[in-house]
Assembly symmetry: C2
Homo-oligomer: 339 residues x 2
């Protein structure tokens, strides 16, 4: 048996790779939301001084990576790898941001689950002694995602109440050896694809909730933990509708998540911000974790967090060909080390 | 210092994860090429009985994964993770093939370097004791890539002599504990992005050759090896033009690759097959390694191979916005264990 594997799907990080620093950058709308003050940088305008939305997203990701490296007290040449991804075709934002660093690059894709996929694989590299410090990062941008996945912004098309708003945001985490903070990645649970058969691209919360539940319940079973072990079980971007579905489905399995669960997509916007079911996009859980959650953990208000970024693995082509939306969710346990 | 890291960019797999089995599936054209008899399955028609090219590619990848698991003597529930990717937007082929397996899924993207990225990260999971057996796999399909990246096939547009032909093919490798074969993954060198500033999407070999050289020379420096340590230094899909550029650039650095280097893109088609500079696509190095190279190693004709899949990290949007093509290359050393 693999010595660092627990149960069926959970990786055990016995060397406790530390989170040494984070960086978060968000757009104007996100800056005006309830989490606005917790991000490192709020853009004055979402084009970030660039000629195209795609270049703005790439710059936003680069800035988050730079901030995380600075805050970790490291220099670029001390970073052994950047693990990163985004929603754009061929990971355009991640690629063009990584081009600015003379650092080995590993492209990761799990739709909006990309942040925890990157954190898990980054923790594996650090925990296994394959790297001293790595960057795990992800981004999304409302204006790049809308025109790629849906319609040109200029159409001003109506959005159904179940739709989610792609977060303009990026988040980056430096994982490795050191004691800048007491926060460690202790476990990673790699998710399976779960496809509930939903074909409506405006019901992404419903498409992802069963995958989130599968990963959460597998993680708890693999680790022998109950939900109340954690101070917070935080899903990525199920939104209001998907979160309710998750809690309901969990309850049917005898798993009570109601008191301990929250969702980054629910947290990031106010009801008045017209985001309907909530936020989505790789940058949603990336920026909320790198911003608000990280601060709460560093300041001791949260000690044990299970972060489960959730991904809807659809493409415009798969939707046009009538395929349903496969869901996936990867979980990483972050715990404050008791000194 | 990280104990399993050698030099600046190379990971050391001291527990020598074994390659337990491979699977390769290719299209008609590839079946008629010089490597035709070395693949496990040659399609009778490239739609593979499916209604769309995308579904055909996904099925082709699924079949390669299934073949590799069977040949490794394993069952699906013994596989801890599938690491896989392809060229389609949002990794459509990898996602929809992984949906058929009840196995944790990690989406990988490095354009045509995806196969070695998956093999490196798969080797890390197996070597580090995070998994017993993993699948590393990749695919591409001429007809899905052409219509996504270039023009509809029905246009019958002319191709310049420097262009490459996207391979219709998939390859899969099972990595883990066991002694089905004597082949081990011993080192992985994660590549940096190197962008020589080329903007012509029909010069992909030229765009990728500097990245290939950077990874090869870094690997040799990190390991203290010279090129003749290897029986074969095999790049992914530089094609004829890119291969010549690689050998020339290496020679200028005092590195002689001429006798030991070959390229999967050069090997896969005959001159008569109208593929111009050669083959490309994630499936090129994936199917050549899983087919021909694997057989040569199992039968003892090759003992030490450095496989460097090469990726051109362009997107249609980055090209339209005038950006150049970033190159990347990841290397994995595969060696026959001396008994």
């Amino acid at each position: 048996m693999a010595i660092n594997k627990l149960g069926s799907q959970t990786l055990l990080f016995l060397n406790r790779p530390h989170i040494l620093g984070t960086g978060s950058v968000v757009g104007q709308k996100e800056g005006k939301g309830p989490m606005g003050k917790t991000f490192d940088l709020v853009l004055e305008e979402d084009a970030f001084g660039e000629k195209t939305w795609e270049r703005a997203e790439s710059k936003m990701l680069r800035e988050a990576i730079n901030l995380s490296i600075q805050k970790a007290g490291k220099k670029e040449d001390q970073i052994d790898a950047i693990l990163s991804g985004d929603l754009l075709n061929q990971l355009m934002s991640a690629v063009f941001s990584a081009r600015n660093f003379k650092v080995p690059f590993l492209g990761m894709y799990g739709a909006c689950s990309t942040m925890t996929e990157s954190m898990i694989m980054g923790s594996v590299l650090a925990d296994g002694g394959y790297a001293d410090h790595v960057v795990a990062a992800a981004s999304s941008h409302y204006s790049t995602a809308e025109r790629q996945f849906r319609l040109p912004l200029e159409h001003g098309n109506q959005r159904p109440p179940s739709s989610q708003w792609t977060v303009t945001g990026s988040g980056s985490v430096v994982i490795g050896k050191g004691n800048v903070t007491s926060l460690c990645c202790t476990h990673g649970t790699i998710g399976k694809i779960v496809d509930p058969g939903i074909t409506d691209a405006h019901q992404m919360g419903a498409a992802m909730a069963p995958a989130a539940l599968d990963t959460i319940s597998t993680h708890l079973k693999d680790t022998g933990r109950s939900p109340d072990y954690y101070d917070l079980i935080l899903t990525g971007d199920l939104g209001k509708i998907g979160s309710q579905i998750l809690v309901d489905l969990a309850s049917k399995q005898g798993l009570s998540l109601a008191g301990v669960h929250n969702d980054c997509g629910v947290m990031i916007y106010d009801d008045e911000q017209d985001a309907h079911s909530g936020g989505s996009g790789c940058g949603c859980s990336a920026s909320i974790f790198a911003g608000h959650i990280y601060k709460e953990m560093v300041e001791g208000r949260l000690k044990k967090v299970l972060l489960i970024s959730t991904g809807a693995l659809l493409t415009t082509i798969s939707s046009q060909q009538g395929d349903s939306i496969p869901g996936i969710a990867h979980a990483v346990a972050i715990e404050a080390e008791t000194m």
